[in-house]
Amino acid sequence: MADTEISTTTDRAPEAPPTEGERRSFRDTLRSAEIDARLAGMLIALAIIWIVFQIVTPGHTFLTPRNLWNLSVQTSVVAIMATGMVLIIVERHIDLSVGAVMAVVGMVMGAFQHDFLPDVLRFDHPLTWVMTLALGLVLGAVIGAFQGVIIAYVGVPSFIVTLGGFLVWRGLAWRVASGQTIAPMDSHFRLLGGGSDGSIGGTWSWVVGIVACVGIVALQLTKRRQRARYGFRLRPMWAEIALGVAGCGAVLAAIWFLNRYYVPAGIVAQRGLPPGTNVSQGLAIPVLLALGVAVVMTFIGTRRRFGRYVYAIGGNPEAAELAGIKTKSTVVKTFTLMGVLVALAAAVQIARLNAAVGSLGTGIELNVIAAAVIGGTSFTGGIGTIAGAVLGALVMQSLVSGMVLMGIEAPLQDVVVGIVLVLAVALDTIVRRRAAR
């Protein structure tokens, strides 16, 4: 019995016998293209989601400038925090406290600009927003560093520390104003939240788009020149040009599409323009913030020592330690950075709501973690990208936005998002396992 079984398997095994060399090179191609393939896969998934929603929503309202503009604003808060969560999860940690920290920082910023600053400066002073934001960022950094020190130096698992933080910071957030809502926010500060005034208009949006294009081309050129200097193999010219054109094209197309979302007629009249003028809203400030954060975080993650160490710690903590990396201080820095990003997200959120409430950011930690995970961040550590997390946030928000347009009630929305989360990770795991074989 056993003998026949063995003989059948050995007969079957060499059916398609790729030589060792062939199999290797195929694997290599798969691997070297992995990150790009993953991102490309996510973009395709996003495109499918958008097209399906466009077809099924009543009145086909999904792919309208108005909806996508709103989508971009709704995504920004989660996206800002997800960029930090990627590094935390890459480092084999977790942060469950981001929603609660958001609340306490938001409440302090609210109270500071509403109750404290008007007495010191004067009401609606132009410096109010800067001072408020600075205070918030510092507070976020301090809270993040505090939790990071307990995790890295005392050695309490991050799950426990941030679970404690989840309760503590939320409780303190309610104490800041004894449970009351603080409103309204300073008029300049409110611009951080977007809206008609908190957008940069059509012309400036084009400027941003052109700057982004110049940036893309400059990056390509620098990289090419550097590789040429060392005599490394260069990407074929046609591929380089195709990539540049595709990148710039996507940026400019997005700007063009979003610029077709116009300021409401009432506000046009308020600004003293003739009725019927189309004034583009342009990119919202929170969207610009999120994009800026994504660029900076990608730079930190891939081009700075700190980022390299985060990935090394995630890949092999012992090896990182033996290589002489200060692993503990790297962990503290990561949590500090997370705190700063949470504070920025809190500022956007209270500006958008035009109010600070103790329930700010309730449950948002789960969205942030889910965005990172849908974006390809692995809980085994060492793997994940900032761009993936931002796309992950966009995928999640797209699902919610589309379902709202379809009139699906909230509990069912949660069901769908939950299923997508597990499906995305399952797919990722299968692809990874295939690639590793």
């Binding site: 694997r27 290599d28 691997r31 070297s32 550097q226 590789r227 200097r229 060392y230 490394f232 891939t302 081009r303 700075r304 020592r305 390299r308 990935y311 090394a312 995630g314 890949g315 092999n316 012992e318 090896a319 990182a320 330690e321 033996l322 290589a323 002489g324 990396i325 550590g381 060492g382 793997i383 590793a436």
Partner: protein, 261 residues
């Protein structure tokens, strides 16, 4: 063949390390001269890796003294050891699997541009150069090291140790994961580095490996040093008797050796 006079390059004096109540290293003294290979041998649990980890900064000793060029030094972290020119190739290789070969080679000592950004091209270039010397067939410079074969991973670990102008090299089972051709490469490299004047601690439980390469052999048994002998003064069998029975060369009888076989 090499004159051991003057101050040794490295001296470990009366080192002690205990885990709980177990003395993993119990009053061991060994030394190493420039241009010399000292084999450190012993069975499993003899304490050779633990002893050497105190020198590479991976583990701190409970007591004892480390001297470099006759000067007492403090080695508390791997960074301290590296600053003193002590490089280690760990048995586990200590590579971060998710990043590529140049990133591993320069881990903790990255090359940067004048703005402090990682200079990945310069690091790749340096890695290509050193690999051209150590393992000319190596070509996966941009893939995560998890995709490399055992031998390729080993060459990354070795490249990392020899690139930074080490004076002292610690090799913990450097050929354990290698095939015959790669083993020969490592042996040639060890001989070459000795010629260049490095001091090398070679840990292995393959006595033939050590016997072929080492100038002196220090034998450990149950955390204690049995003795250090000149390779030219002893036979393989005598070293085996030291490893297994803990007997010094003079005490080994023909009967003991017969018993070993």
């Amino acid at each position: 063949m090499n004159a051991r006079n003057g101050t040794p390059l490295v001296e470990l004096r009366d080192m002690r390390v205990a885990f709980g109540g177990v003395h993993a290293v119990d009053g061991v003294t060994v030394d190493l001269y420039a241009g010399e290979v000292v084999g450190l041998v012993g069975g499993n649990g003899a304490g050779k890796t633990t002893l050497i980890r105190t020198l590479s900064g991976a583990h701190s000793a409970d007591s004892g003294q480390i001297l470099i060029d006759g000067e007492p030094v403090t080695i508390e972290t791997p960074r301290d050891a590296k600053e003193l020119g002590i490089e280690t190739i760990y048995q586990t290789l200590a590579l971060a699997d998710n990043i590529d070969a140049p990133a591993n080679m320069f881990l903790g000592r990255e090359l940067t541009t004048r703005f402090g950004n990682l200079d990945t091209s310069a690091m790749e270039d340096a890695t290509r150069k050193i690999m051209g010397r150590l393992n000319p067939k190596f070509e996966k410079f941009v893939a995560p090291v998890s995709t490399l074969s055992g031998g390729q991973r080993q060459s990354v670990a070795i490249a990392r140790a020899v690139h930074f102008n080490a004076r002292v090299l610690i090799m913990d089972e450097p050929t354990a994961a290698l095939g015959p051709a790669e083993t020969k490469q490592v042996r040639d490299l060890i001989n070459q580095l000795r010629e260049e004047g490095l001091g090398i601690f070679l840990i292995s439980h393959d006595i033939h490996d050590v016997y072929d390469l080492a100038d002196r052999i220090s034998v450990m048994l149950q955390g204690k040093l049995v003795g250090t002998v000149d390779k030219d003064d002893v036979t393989v069998d005598e070293v085996l008797a030291m490893i297994i029975m803990g007997k010094k060369p003079g005490q080994v009888t023909q009967r003991d050796i017969a018993e070993l076989h």
